[in-house]
């Protein structure tokens, strides 16, 4: 396979990371950009919600536990405005959360979830799988 053919197969996705942990958002941005994806960061729920409403992202990585306006509030707002199912949202959380609660989020319209810590290659695979779905 020629190099140009290989280059064509690498899809570039537009990813929004909503997480109050700046270490994670910075490093994840570097990682995703290394993989030729475009990254936008929102460090709190309100900022993230505004970004989701204003722009179109292939995937949104959404942390749940954030001060003030958390990931649940973002999901609820999108749900109330019938926007939740229009976006591909991966809940990306370190919270203690039961399988039942995760299933409920998916039932409500969240696309998928990953629990921190997750292997970085698996996370990337999840992002691509979700964006392609």
């Amino acid at each position: 396979m020629s190099k140009s053919k290989q280059k064509e197969e690498v899809k570039s996705y537009n990813v929004l990371i909503v997480d109050d942990n700046e270490q994670i958002t910075k490093m994840l941005t570097t990682f995703l950009e290394l993989k030729e994806h475009k990254c936008t960061v929102a460090n709190d729920g309100r900022e993230g919600l505004a970004a989701i409403k204003e722009n179109k992202y292939d995937v949104v990585l959404l942390d749940l536990a954030m001060p003030e306006f958390d990931g649940y509030a973002v999901i609820k707002d999108l749900e109330d405005n019938d926007l939740l199912k229009e976006h591909k949202i991966i809940v990306f959380t370190a919270s203690t959360i039961t399988q039942e609660e995760l299933d409920e989020l998916v039932n409500r319209g969240v696309t998928s979830y990953v629990l921190k810590p997750i292997d970085i290659d698996q996370l990337l695979a999840k992002i691509i799988e979700t964006a392609d779905s």
Binding site: V10, N21, Q23, I24, M27, L28, T30, F31, L34, K35, E36, A65, M66, P67, D70, Y72, A73, K76, D80, A94, S95, T96, L115, K116, P117, I118, D119, I120
Partner: protein
């Protein structure tokens, strides 16, 4: 002679027992409790009298309970309609009471039937109401802030339940365990448990004592840290309504004020928000609280582990970049 003695002894017993219905004693407490089953105080009095003393004529009941005779007939008629007393044929007509357990069952069923009749009538009333056009001179009523005084547990409970049902965004609850014990086993606590709104409860509960909110996830409850604020009790629905309780030692009933005043709601929301920030979850240790009230120690550990994983990957790649003059992708 024997007959005379029996009669005398019965008369004394009855006089003593009948006296119980006229002065302050435990039977009055029973009387008050029966009033909750849709009996008037005098209806309850007559029922209890008959159930304890036994078969009596209307005039005997009126005399013993010091009730006007005409009223006694009305009371007996109503109690018969309710099905908790019955008449014994004879002249004069005598009355007797159905047993207490059966009577309570009958009264509860009567109430249930009444509620289901009310429920079935609701739709018809609303339909008719909508048929009549509204002749409002202005819409100023819609714009003005409304204040409603609520007295008594039931009227407060109805409003609270309505607020929780209608809430779309969040419900903020502040009050002591004692405040909310008054609503334990009511639909209000059930609705709080089931609400889809973002629920936040600030209270003085400790994990060992948290009976009232036992079904609510602990992450939604924080312990009031500010002792000066423990007298406050209010519930805020979204950004639109609030009920705050008023303590008044002179008034026996519970008192509260409901309002949709924006200024009030905003002020109390700000107060709640400040207190929420300063408070800790009830299952949180001091070490955990240092890391932020929303974030537990385990949560933070998982985040650090995630940071490490990404960092390791990046370090490997940048070493490769340095060694090979390119980045592995």
């Amino acid at each position: 002679m024997l007959s005379f003695n029996v009669t005398v002894s019965m008369t004394i017993t009855e006089t003593v027992e009948e006296g119980m219905f006229q002065t302050e004693n435990p039977i009055n407490e029973l009387n008050r409790m029966l009033v909750r089953y849709d009996l008037t105080p005098n209806q309850a009095k007559v029922y209890l009298f008959l159930s304890k003393i036994g078969i009596k004529t209307a005039s005997e009941i009126a005399k013993a309970l010091k009730l006007p005779r005409t009223e006694t007939y009305h009371l007996l008629s109503t109690l018969q309609q309710k099905g908790i007393i019955f008449s014994v044929f004879g002249k004069p007509t005598k009355f007797n009471a159905v047993g207490i357990e059966e009577s309570l069952e009958i009264l509860i069923n009567n109430e249930k039937n009444r509620i289901s009749e009310l429920e079935s009538g609701k739709e018809a009333i609303t339909r008719l109401w909508n048929v009549i056009p509204k002749y409002s001179e202005s819409n100023s009523d819609d714009q003005e802030n409304k204040f409603q005084s609520l007295q008594g547990r039931n009227s407060i409970l109805v409003k609270l339940e309505q607020m929780v049902k209608e809430s779309k965004e969040n419900i903020l609850v502040l009050g002591t365990e004692l405040d909310f014990k008054r609503f334990y086993y009511t639909e209000f606590t059930d609705l709080l448990n089931k609400t889809k709104s973002d629920l936040k409860i600030l209270t003085d509960l400790s994990p060992e004592e948290s009976h009232v909110f036992e079904d609510i996830p602990v992450k939604k409850i924080k312990k009031i840290e500010d002792k000066n604020r423990e007298d406050f009790c209010f519930i805020i629905k979204d950004n639109s309504e609030v009920i705050f309780f008023i303590s008044n030692k002179e008034v026996k009933d519970m008192l509260a004020v409901w309002t949709d005043s924006k200024a009030f709601v905003t002020t109390l929301r700000s107060l709640f928000s400040l207190m929420w920030k300063k408070s800790h979850h009830i299952d949180e240790t001091d070490a955990e609280s240092i890391l932020g009230s929303e974030i537990t120690y385990e949560h933070r550990l998982r985040e650090i582990e995630q940071e490490k994983m990404i960092l390791n990957y990046l370090q490997e790649n940048f070493q490769l970049l340095e060694n090979n003059g390119g980045i592995r992708k």
